[in-house]
Symmetry: C2
Subunit: 268 residues, 2 copies
């Protein structure tokens, strides 16, 4: 009887979800690493030992929460970028950045769980990797699109500092194309001559390209990695209070930086 089997199984699945939800609530309330099985059980009106029917240990609960957090963030990033026309590279970049930030602000402790300092004594198992890379995959995808678009079009290679019209016209954050190196020198990814990357980095970039952004030049990959670390660094600083006293209400700074980094990477 498949129906009755799934009846029990459905109850199990539901309670599993409820446990994770309670754990998530506790995470949000009491902070990143004070998560305790007993408190979760208490909130659900169960006895603590009952949780062991669902998660063999506290660390397994943690792992489940980590995977869920990565998945929630990754899914949002995927949806936000998929909602835009594929050719709107900069829009997709902006959307991805914005969605990462807003998710982080809405779920600070879950963000801290995955992007903050690692939990002492806890080693994330390999099963987290696919979920953990979803945002990176999104970024790699749009980078690859930018790359193939620019290598296909003949618009590249303008040597002047005026920049491609599209880039400037697209910028809606007024000061986005400020005083310092704008996108002028870089008519987009895939442009002509470039100094080759030095060895350890070249190979790393190649592997990243192969995994995430096939066909993209190593230097562009590395620039994207720089932008990637900037994005999360900025969000972490905002969330962890490091921006207090400088760019504290960080909305304006954030969108400015996002556009700056788009220029930096050479996105159209």
């Amino acid at each position: 009887m498949t129906a009755s089997q799934t009846a029990r199984e459905r109850a199990r699945a539901e309670l599993t979800r409820e446990i994770k939800a309670a754990a998530r609530r506790q995470l949000a309330a009491t902070g990143a690493q004070r998560l305790s099985l007993r408190a979760v059980a208490r909130e659900l009106g169960m006895v603590s030992s009952a949780l062991y029917r669902y998660f063999p240990s506290r660390d397994d609960l943690l792992t489940a929460l980590i995977i869920d957090a990565y998945d929630a963030l990754g899914e949002r990033a995927e949806q936000a970028t998929a909602a835009l026309p594929r050719a709107d590279i900069r829009g997709r970049w902006r959307a991805c950045c914005a969605v990462v930030r807003s998710w982080a602000l809405a779920h600070p402790h879950e963000y801290a769980l995955i992007y903050g300092s690692p939990v002492p004594g806890y080693q994330a198992p390999r099963e987290t990797i696919p979920s953990a890379s979803r945002v990176a995959v999104v970024l790699g995808g749009l980078l690859a699109d930018a790359w193939t678009a620019s290598t296909a079009s003949p618009t590249t290679g303008a040597g002047t500092s005026t920049g491609t019209p599209a880039t400037n016209a697209d910028a809606d954050a007024g000061p986005g194309t400020g005083p310092a190196p704008g996108p002028g020198t870089s008519p987009g990814p895939g442009t002509g001559t470039q100094a080759p990357l030095q060895e350890p980095l070249r190979r790393q970039a190649e592997l990243v390209a192969a995994a995430i952004a096939p066909g993209v030049d190593g230097a562009a990959i590395v620039r994207a990695l720089v932008a990637w670390t900037q994005l999360f660094g900025m969000i972490s600083f905002e969330l962890f209070g490091q921006l207090a006293g400088s760019a504290d209400p960080a909305d304006a700074f954030f969108s400015y930086a996002v556009d700056q980094m788009a220029d930096f990477v050479g996105l159209p």
Copy 2:
């Protein structure tokens, strides 16, 4: 008798240091937030209640450790940059970045303590602020020097994308001046026309400039903030394992990124 007074006081100071040292050791061993007064006392062969003669509570010990960590890092940054000629802006930037990273790698848990996810239930008191800003002050100082140097010299304002000779000649990391926006469009900070920053950001930049880099243009300040968040984001990613699978042995990536961000900010 001042001598005997200081005898007791010196003993007190020394034990205070030893307590902090033991706490730091425990931090490094057992991880960021599992620091316990009892364990520290145990390591020192004391009874746990004795620590209350030195720190009124666990949180005060934590605060002391945080301040010490910020100070250790800040002092290194100050020394590393002070050791170079003042005009060597890019060298100072590189030195500061390098020293922050190497300190972080050498003291991962102390780094996590100050730049990782905040300790749940712990609110850093205001006394930490001066120590916390030392690295930013160093960066602001070199930015201000870059700014005044470039506004003083007549080399600025070249509209071409060839860049100032000094900038290119200075770059020793081969691919540092790669394909995308090099310093070409930005002959240095302080260059002519620039779109004004939008409002909330303009004021924030002004405050930062007033506090840390007097006289520097708002857009340059904001770019420096971007570079600043990139620096710490990159280090955190390396330390927290987020770079595994991409730029994992991160030395090459790090120095590449540092030079890229120097270009981005417009440092000579």
